[in-house]
Amino acid sequence: MSLPGPETLELKTSEDVVRARQRVRVCMKDQGFGLVDQTKMVTATSELARNAVDYGLGGTMRIESLEEMGRIGIRLVFLDHGPGIPDIDLALTDGYTSGHGLGLGLGGSKRLVNEFEIWSKPDEGTRVTITRWR
């Protein structure tokens, strides 16, 4: 199977979050992911894209299809150049929020995917990479 090339979407407004979510859903469907996997990844996308818009002052989402050792996967990279996260462990704690949300988005996203990687530096930005394998 040929893999579609990576593409990058802008994340500036809440409409961009919806667009990112739809793009991820289509991509997962194309790669043959089931409904549960689709919903999990789409929900994680929603959380992380909204974080980039609300806390990261806008950013981008890179979407990439993978094939490794016969496995099919989707990798998403959320990047923003916002204020960054001072304490990542605290941010991953359920119920902690620096805004007005439920404080479950970051930790919840981690539980929804197979691989989760976060990098953040104060005043430089935040990058979250998530991967889900079929």
């Binding site: 999990k40 929900t43 949300g101 919840g108 539980r111």
Partner: protein
């Protein structure tokens, strides 16, 4: 060059029929004509009318300043035409081509009239180009505006369409949610539901999320707030339509609806609501 010495009007008037014929030929051959959306005779009528209006306007001597009052009939006609075309589903290129395909026929006549005087020809062509470009851009702009208008209207319609509150039984309301729950929509949903609880004096409200593709923390938070607000008004909320994939995702996400009653289907929720209100259906 408001009062120009351009002979454009003179040439247009003298060659009106030939220009119209050429123009029609250009449009029919352009490949962007939508024969499924407009008939040839209709197009001819529109073209003839526009050309007539342009000739009238150029008669004043003002051939390029389309903001002048003598150009108002032309602009009104173009605005109406591009609005109709936007609504009919013409593309922007197809709409603009209507104007730009006028260039070639006019240039041909100018060339014939100006003869071998290159400098006069260049001047006349420049005037005609400026004029058609301005008219073309005006058409494109009106087209764009009409499209935006259509989109805005559809957005508003969607907003209202997606928030019906149904009184399904005495004292029982159903609110079927469909699509994305962004902040502005949730606000409307919440207001409509709370107002309906008061108006119908209902004790139970079923919020059905079958049509919501993904429940993330923001959607969950909005739902929890709505349920809490309804509870403050003495109404109990039931959340129904939680599909298997949504349930699994919510568990991983760590979202819980607390002590809110949730059901897999609207039918289950209705059954529960009947029991709560002591209604038996036989």
């Amino acid at each position: 060059m408001t009062k120009s010495t351009s002979r454009l009007n003179d040439i247009l008037e003298k060659n009106e029929k030939e220009i119209l014929d050429d123009w029609m030929r250009e449009q029919l051959a352009s490949g962007t004509l939508r024969k499924d959306l407009i008939t040839e005779s209709e197009l001819r009528k529109q073209s003839a009318e526009l050309l007539g209006l342009i000739i009238n306007a150029t008669r004043s001597g003002n051939v390029t300043e389309i903001s002048g009052t003598e150009w108002k009939p032309v602009l009104d006609f173009l605005a109406a035409t591009s609005k109709t075309r936007a609504a009919q589903g013409f593309s922007p290129v197809e709409t603009a081509t209507f104007i730009f395909s006028m260039k070639q026929p006019i240039f041909t006549r100018l060339k014939k009239e100006a003869g071998s005087n290159a400098s006069v020809l260049a001047d006349e062509i420049w005037v005609a180009t400026v004029l058609t470009d301005k008219l073309g851009l005006f058409t494109a702009e009106t087209y764009q505006k009409s499209r935006e208008e259509i989109i805005r209207r559809q957005q508003m319609e969607l907003l209202e369409l997606s928030t019906p509150v149904i009184r399904i039984w005495e004292g029982i309301l159903v609110l079927p949610l469909i699509g994305t729950l962004d902040s502005s929509r949730t606000q409307i949903v919440m207001e409509t539901l709370l107002q309906n609880i008061v108006d119908t004096n209902s004790g139970i409200a079923i919020i059905d999320i079958t049509g919501v593709p993904a429940v993330d923390t923001l959607v969950a938070q909005h739902l929890i707030k709505t349920v809490s607000a309804a509870r403050l008004m003495g109404a109990q909320c039931i959340i129904s339509g939680i599909r298997p994939q949504i349930a699994q995702t919510m568990v991983h996400l760590g979202v819980a609806f607390g002590d809110v009653v949730t059901k897999a289907s609207l039918a289950d929720a209705l059954k529960y609501a009947f029991r709560q209100s002591g209604i038996t259906v036989t």
